[in-house]
Subunit: 355 residues, 2 copies
């Protein structure tokens, strides 16, 4: 952009609701593999919590040998781990479900990626120990409020099974992109659960409790559950691992373009291992061409990809992208419809018109 005025151009978060604050990333305007705080989507269940961060500490209690309250200084002084992680809201792309579902109508931008630094949860649990009866670990956030389905106040709480809690990549993070975590994203401590949809990565962690049964909080047993049937709850199962997925970032859907050469680009990600292949189709999925990866394919992070497209013939084009991961998962042509609209991962699709 040679014009100096153009330097004032800026894309902004797309507001879905203000209280609680839910704002989407304009994903088409993200470049590379790190999303700055300014364009990091915001997904809140309640108004932002208030607490005195100067007295902040993190208790670990319940079925442990040595209950402990960790100070922030203690946490900062333990050996740290730094990882690049995709955080994807399980409602990402909800607006694409057909039939449509209720809930925040997220487009393709309830996803983000950045560098998280923190202490592995297993290091903290090494101090407290776990009783043999320990089955799940509950993370309670400082945020709370009423739900539409009850008049009681609930805090945002979620659990992890012991194995996932002890995964060396599951961390209690205190930095995002080399800065303290932004308040709206969980300052001072956020649980980061790589590979799972982001509801698992509890913000503003207040307390950790080890229990000997399945946790039954509403954000575990009512929300963040796949309900494959519209009318009843049969066949339900919990939302956990991120499905293999891809998004075409450029061009935008329904754009009108000049004929010429274009670089189609996008991202692909999965909660299962890493991305092994991204393909593109111009004939509705009958034939597929490989895309070029422009970032390395590592666990927990998205892959950037591109494809050089000679668009010399006028007319309408449908462009599809399809990712495959190292566990053999492939994006399906149709998503698994579910009543609350989680986990959309159908082959991505845009249409453009060459004039």
């Amino acid at each position: 952009m040679s014009n100096s005025y153009q330097s004032k151009l800026r894309s902004y978060l797309i507001t879905k609701s203000l209280v609680p604050e839910n704002q989407e990333t304009p994903i088409h305007f993200i470049h590379g593999d790190i999303v700055s705080n300014r364009l990091f989507y915001r997904r809140s269940h309640f108004p932002y919590p208030r607490f005195a961060s100067s007295f902040y500490s993190l208790p670990i209690e319940g079925l442990v040998h040595h209950p402990n309250v960790f100070s922030l200084q203690q946490i900062y002084s333990l050996p740290s781990k730094t990882i690049k992680v995709v955080l994807e809201c399980s409602g990402n792309k909800r607006e694409l479900f057909n039939p449509k579902v209720y809930g925040e109508q997220w487009g393709k931008g309830a996803i983000s990626q950045g560098i998280w630094k923190g202490v592995p949860l297993r290091s903290l649990l090494a101090y407290t120990g776990l009783l043999e009866t320990a089955k799940e670990i509950v993370f309670e956030g400082h945020d709370y409020g009423e739900r539409t389905d009850s008049n009681q106040s609930h805090s945002f709480s979620r659990s992890l099974p012991i194995e996932k809690a002890l995964d060396p990549d599951t961390i209690i993070a205190y930095e995002y992109n080399n800065q303290p975590i932004p308040f709206k994203h969980g300052f001072p401590l956020r649980l980061i659960v790589p590979g799972w949809y982001a509801m698992a990565s509890v913000k503003w962690v207040k307390r950790i409790i080890v229990i000997d049964k399945e946790f039954k909080g509403p954000f575990q047993t009512v929300d963040y559950v796949y309900y494959p049937n519209k009318k009843n709850d049969s066949g339900k199962f919990p939302v956990t691992t991120i499905n293999v997925n891809s998004t075409i970032k450029y061009p935008l859907n329904r754009k009108i373009l000049h004929s010429g050469t274009y670089e189609i680009d996008g991202i692909a990600w999965t909660g299962n291992g890493h991305i092994t292949k991204v393909e593109i189709s111009f004939d509705g999925g009958q034939t597929w061409d490989p895309c070029q990866r422009t970032s390395s394919s590592v666990k927990n992070a998205w892959v950037c990809w591109k494809y050089k497209w000679e668009a010399n013939k006028k007319g309408e084009y449908t462009i599809l992208s399809k990712a495959t991961d190292s566990k053999g998962n492939v994006q399906p042509l149709k998503p698994m419809w579910n009543r609350k609209g989680y986990g959309y991962n159908a082959i991505d699709r845009i249409k453009v018109n060459i004039e």
Copy 2:
């Protein structure tokens, strides 16, 4: 919002493209009848123009008795007119057309309203006079660039028929909401054509030329034309007057709500006279209830309206809003489909789920 953190909540413009800059107003978060510069939608055809505003002047030439170049000082010193005006992009609500059309996928927020101050164009034309052969007046903007359908450079130029140009409400504006017009909205001079879709309100006016024929620029004869047929141009006619229309601002489409009492609210507007009635329906349009107007109904401005809704029964609701204007125009149940997606004004429709 009692919580001090909540004061940091902000809605932003929704970016459709950056070059040219096209950003939509999050219309659901607009309160009252004045939209601030920060939330004023941006609709650009080309990169922002560059010019030296210190040497700015406005020539009126062509079929006039006394061609003249008006300085900004001259324009500021003439008797002014101040009007509250709706500016609506003719592509507003384009994404709602079915079958879908190509072009920027505007939602419901390519509309804005504010107070414009300027000199009536007729006052300037009184100085220059008009030859008897004068038929149209062309307004050339400082913005220019290539179009997707040609490799030539075009400036953004539009014409008005003499009668509309001489309307006392058609002004050469220099203030928006009591401030100099923001650069992105046409500083220092913008033609404001109340009652017409906003493509007529040429920004950064560079030159005014009086001609004796129909102007044939591409933004007059290719774009901003209704093409009722997908495959050919038969039946085409130009986009001019704003259709009678309404938008439900609250609640948001596809929201899940608690049972309780809600104030549904929205806006209604028309380019034909003023709004006389806004009605709401909960049964798919079989019966209609009048809404309460919460702002006065004046020409060129939108009306704010509300409706108290007792949502005590759980279930899915479809809510429709329908406006009528003083010329007897009523929003239709279906929009007039057209290939480029202009003038969408079907009865507004949202769905909510009461839990």
